[in-house]
Amino acid sequence: MISFRVDSRSVVPPYLQIVQQVRQALRMGLLDVGDQLPTVREVVSATAINPNTVLKAYRDLEREGLVEARAGHGTFVLRRPPGPPPGTHSRLGRSLASWVREARDAGLDDESIESLLRVTLRTTAEEEIA
């Protein structure tokens, strides 16, 4: 049974932190298909967050097809999140390293690099929504 950690100071909203932690646990094998997620009351007692936050997270996971709520029994894992094809991370990591080297040569410090990445994530996401 996994336990959740909700950081109220994070820019990530609490319900999304829970969703991400479930996905991460599935990727890392800490949660397996058929496992039961902690009940809403268990999460709330442990983290002192709003029960609707937990419900929202579990609903999102259900919509994604990762878990299934069985009335009267709890919420259970259906499948693992689809991952990128093998080798994707190392390939992207290599091209990212070469971009970072270029940025540093151009005089950007780590903070500027992170800031540029954040803005680019936001603007590309907005383009996808638009």
Binding site: V44, S45, A48, P51, I129
Partner: protein, 328 residues
């Protein structure tokens, strides 16, 4: 990394600009309402404790009531509980106007800031008293809760720690099985661990029974965790009322070089402007993109949002730094 907050749905959270009256009849709710007010006002002789407040408290949710001292929070809670009558406006609580009769009172739990326990009596004594005083009473739940928290049932309540006393008071109120729980600064005097435990117990009770909670406080950080709805009072008026996630998604912070901001003011409602000689920082309502590339946008935290809307009540030294919508 900054995530993109979800775009708000069709419900439009009500946002009042500083000092302006909230439109009558316009709620700020999501789903069925446990409490609904319209143009609610309360005067004590020459002093207006509450002015023209229009609020919706959604059922089954935990609503934060935030505002500086003297903003009217305690007055509002007392009106909800039927402990005082409004001077003007309408108020419906659990479907009826509040009144001092057993049926109405049985459905409401009110926990005042000065925890109302008899210091010489033990928790067990209070449980027994409660059975005689309340039409609905689940004394066993109090024993269960307090035992799980290792709070001694037979010790005089005055000899317990502040955190333990608060848990006793909460357990006793929950034993009434109210539909609505009103808490006036319940965690103000508690240490961080006691605060966390209190809020966990409260959130668990809501999860178990669909209880509606309105909780007043100063401590924005704690409330952000456990509350999903907010009512903000300042200067006796409602400044903000709505779902917290939606309100945060509706606002953003813009930082840029000090320059004319009229273009931005045309497309976004400016809540707060802060200027230094080189830079201007704006808190705006409206998540649409800003045309001016010189401005960098970022998400707002609940604390920043609350402070911005409380701006008018800020002490004079701070007020010099912040001006609202000042057109320059």
């Amino acid at each position: 990394m900054t995530p993109i907050r979800p775009v708000p749905g069709p419900r439009d959270p009500q946002v009042g600009s500083l000092g302006a009256a909230a439109p009558r009849g316009a709620g700020c709710g999501s789903g069925p309402a446990a409490i609904q007010t319209s143009g609610l006002s309360k005067r004590y002789r020459a002093v207006s404790a509450l002015t023209d407040c229009t609020i919706t408290v959604p059922e089954g949710r935990i609503t934060a009531l935030i505002g500086p001292n003297g903003a009217g929070k305690t007055t509002l809670l007392r009106l909800f509980a039927g402990l005082a009558a409004p001077t003007a406006g309408e108020l419906t609580v659990n479907g009826t106007a509040p009144r001092q009769d057993p049926a109405f009172l049985a459905d409401i739990g009110f926990l005042a800031q000065e925890i109302p326990l008899y210091r010489r009596l033990s928790a067990a004594d209070h449980i027994e008293a409660g059975a005689h005083l309340n039409p609905r009473w689940d004394g066993a739940s109090v024993r269960e809760r307090l035992t799980a928290l290792h709070v001694p049932l037979d010790r005089a309540v005055g000899k317990l720690s502040g955190g333990q006393r608060a848990q006793v008071a909460l357990a006793l109120i929950l034993a009434k099985e109210p539909r609505l729980l009103l808490l006036d600064e319940p965690v103000a005097a508690l240490d961080p661990l006691a605060r966390r435990n209190f809020l966990a117990t409260l959130a668990d009770a809501v999860a178990a029974s669909g209880l509606t909670v309105v909780m007043s406080s100063h401590l924005v950080a704690d409330l952000e965790r456990v509350c999903d709805h907010i009512i903000m009072l300042a200067s006796s008026r409602v400044q903000l009322c709505g779902d917290i996630e939606e309100l945060l998604a509706e606002h953003q912070i813009l930082v840029g070089p000090r320059k004319d901001i009229t273009a931005i003011q045309r497309s976004h409602a400016v809540v707060q402007v802060t200027r230094t000689p080189r830079q201007v920082t704006l808190l705006v309502r409206g998540k649409g993109p800003v045309a001016d590339p010189a401005f960098q946008a970022s998400d707002v935290s609940l604390e920043e949002l609350v402070l911005a809307y409380m701006g008018q009540d800020a002490p004079p030294a701070l007020a010099r730094l912040t001006t609202v919508g000042d057109g320059q």
